[in-house]
């Protein structure tokens, strides 16, 4: 069974802080946390800000790494293929890492317990899109999936409360190509960004409906699955695939887009909305817009929820926005930068494809490279645990 190839390595933060020599031992690959009856990381690591991200390892394989706020690696879990997004349980003790589309695996990882990661496989006729979220009580996981023969997006509903993960149902997302999902309104509502792009695993990563795509952001009743609201952009922006989202302190949903239309155009790429109020577009300063290749990677709010960061990896920029006014606050140049996570009250941790991990305290401060593990490429998304 190929999932058995999943390999785990771990070190404790205490060992790390006592001397980064632990890293050398880690690289020797002799750690197997579960074999030793320990968790991936120690319980007291919860006292520190921890982050997780998918990445490509130096040898070309793929995995998930848990790092601390100094950018130092605490633990690593090998993946059978390239990962993408990670959903974190409300208590921060578990997370589920999804395969990059059109992948069919997801790993439920409990880094503090002596349990093996549980491997989920998408059901026949479906693949994962790379993102998901937990229910407020942590018992359920909603995973965006492609019902590709029916050309419809669904949220697979998984019960992760028992010994075995069970798929207990699904909710239609009201669109094609659902990509990101988040909880809103105290957990009563699921917000899904339907990217609008039709794909089929028989033609991996080929886009089949660019001329007719209709992306949307849909607000769903979490219990009933009813569509509460569906927002689209104006028709001249129907080729702006709405993909990644974050929620600010006021409960507004911010979404970043990837434009599939004429490459000579520089459409707006960032919008915010609520269930009742349709999308308001934020204007990217023209001097920046022309270099972004109309592509936003991650959208993340800081811990205070007053600043939204949006990464533009093709333009090598991270753009910051004022959550209350939608105003542009500034940008940092980060080559191949994509992963973003809230750091402390106001700042962000930023990861990039050249291994860099940098912190930025606020949109006005200079980003500081904390670490750059050699040979590593951090993947699109990073989360705070």
């Amino acid at each position: 069974m190929r999932w058995m190839a999943t390999n785990r390595t771990a070190i404790s933060r205490r060992a790390l802080l006592a001397g980064l020599g632990g890293i050398a031992a880690l690289c020797a690959g002799n750690f197997s946390a579960f074999a030793g009856g320990a968790g991936l990381i120690e319980e007291n690591a919860l006292d520190y800000p921890l982050f997780a991200s998918a990445r490509r390892e130096a040898d070309g394989s793929y995995g998930i790494a848990i790092i601390d706020d100094a950018g130092q690696e605490l633990a690593r879990v090998a993946l059978p293929g390239r990962g993408h997004g990670i959903a974190v349980s409300p208590d921060g003790r578990r997370f589920i890492a999804f395969a990059r589309r059109p992948g069919t695996f997801a790993l439920l990882i409990d880094p503090f317990e002596r349990t093996e990661p549980q491997v989920l496989t998408s059901i026949e006729g479906r693949h994962f899109y790379g993102h998901g979220c937990f229910s407020p009580d942590g018992r359920l996981v909603y995973a965006v999936e492609n019902d590709y023969d029916a050309v419809r997006g669904v949220l697979g509903v998984y019960d992760v409360s028992g010994r075995e993960v069970r798929r207990i149902g699904e909710i239609e997302t009201g669109g094609i190509g659902p990509h990101d999902v988040l909880l809103a309104e105290g957990g009563k509502v699921l917000v899904v960004a339907n990217g609008g792009i039709e794909t089929h695993p028989s033609r991996p990563r080929e886009k089949l409906n660019i001329d007719t795509m209709q992306p949307s952001v849909v607000f769903l009743d979490r219990e009933s699955g009813d569509v509460l609201a569906k927002h689209s952009l104006a028709q001249d922006l129907h080729q702006l695939s709405l993909r990644h989202m974050a929620m600010d302190a006021q409960g507004k949903v911010w979404v970043g887009g990837q434009f599939e239309g004429d490459k000579s155009l520089t459409p707006p790429l960032v919008a915010h909305m609520t269930r009742d109020a349709g999308p308001k577009l934020s204007e990217i300063p023209p001097t920046l817009a022309s270099g972004l290749q109309s592509y936003i990677g991650s959208v993340v709010a800081n811990a205070s929820g007053d600043v939204i960061a949006t990464s533009a990896p093709r333009g090598g920029q991270v753009l910051f926005w004022a959550a209350d006014t939608g105003a542009f606050l500034g940008a940092d140049q980060v080559v191949d930068g994509c992963g973003l996570a809230p750091l402390d009250a106001s700042g962000f941790l930023i990861s990039d494809g050249t291994g860099g991990l940098r912190c930025v305290e606020d949109p006005q401060s200079l980003p500081e490279v904390l670490a750059r593990p050699p040979g590593i490429s951090w993947d699109n998304h990073m989360v705070a645990l």
Partner: protein, 357 residues
Amino acid sequence: MRYLIYAACVCLMAGPAAAQDFSVNIKKSIEGYIRPAADGFARAADDLAPAIDAVCRETTAETKAAFAQHYGDVVTTFAKISFLRYGPLLEDDRLNRLAFMPDPRGIAQRQIRKILADTDSTAIDASTLKDKSVAVQGLTALQLIAFDEDGQVVLGDPGEMRDFICGYTRAIAVNAAQVADEVAAAWDDPDGYSSELLMPGEKNDHVRTSKDAIEVIFNALVTGLIIVKDQDVLPALGKGPESAKAHRVPFSRSGNGLVYLASELKGIEDALRAAEFEPLLSEDFAWIPDSIYFEFANAQTLLADITPPIRQSLQDGGNYDRLKVLTLTINSLRDTMAGELAGALSLSGGFNALDGD
């Protein structure tokens, strides 16, 4: 809905149509640059421990100066390989063991202080030092111990810790020489990592074609440029001349900051030259290499115009601006290499930028 429309910026992506064979470029990179550079670093590193012994045996201005000279040679030759962030430098965590960078939170300083406070005997023997934290066993650690903030050699100075520090610095030098020898030997081994690049597909599932192999080599050069700018220069520049922090330039404590930067850039340039991509470029793209080398020369001129040491001279007339211009020059170099040259050679670059989701 209105939005701004800009004239199309046509990217130069029209490289060779057929699958290109980069075998010659890989061979030339390894034989013409990587192996000689790794050998050069190993030779310089071998001379470090004797220089420390000389200082500790008889501490004079001459022995100190000789040590400082040898340390500078090691830093210079290390700069020539530090951007080869694949294969032998990654195995056994060698790169981090040679130099723990970046370290904005001062992790190394804290750990070294503890070693000194405890007179930790495992730090004075290379065979046990190598199993300690990567932050305390390499050239960056040696610099913190052997030089003061003004760049003076304090190794060998009288004090109750003198012998311990001599032992610790010697252990670092022996350890660094050992790692440097391992790197050189690994590159020289015809069945070692170089064979994964020279015979793609046979030994490494992730390096299946000569294009995969040359991308490993080429993308490391681009990452090297990013490191020089983002990690080595920008933190020193801060937000403006008033808040500049010259001590953030790597190896500036020992007075080797500028030479380290210059050597990194020279190494990247020499590695690019050694690859000899010129014959693969069509006439339309023949201008690219000379444009790149012109910018590398500009970068060297900017650095040469700053009088070392940078910790003392950053605020002197025009030097801050020179480093600022250097960052723009490196930006331009990166853009030309990762954009035009990579495009002309049909090489794939950025991980997220290339194929995000």
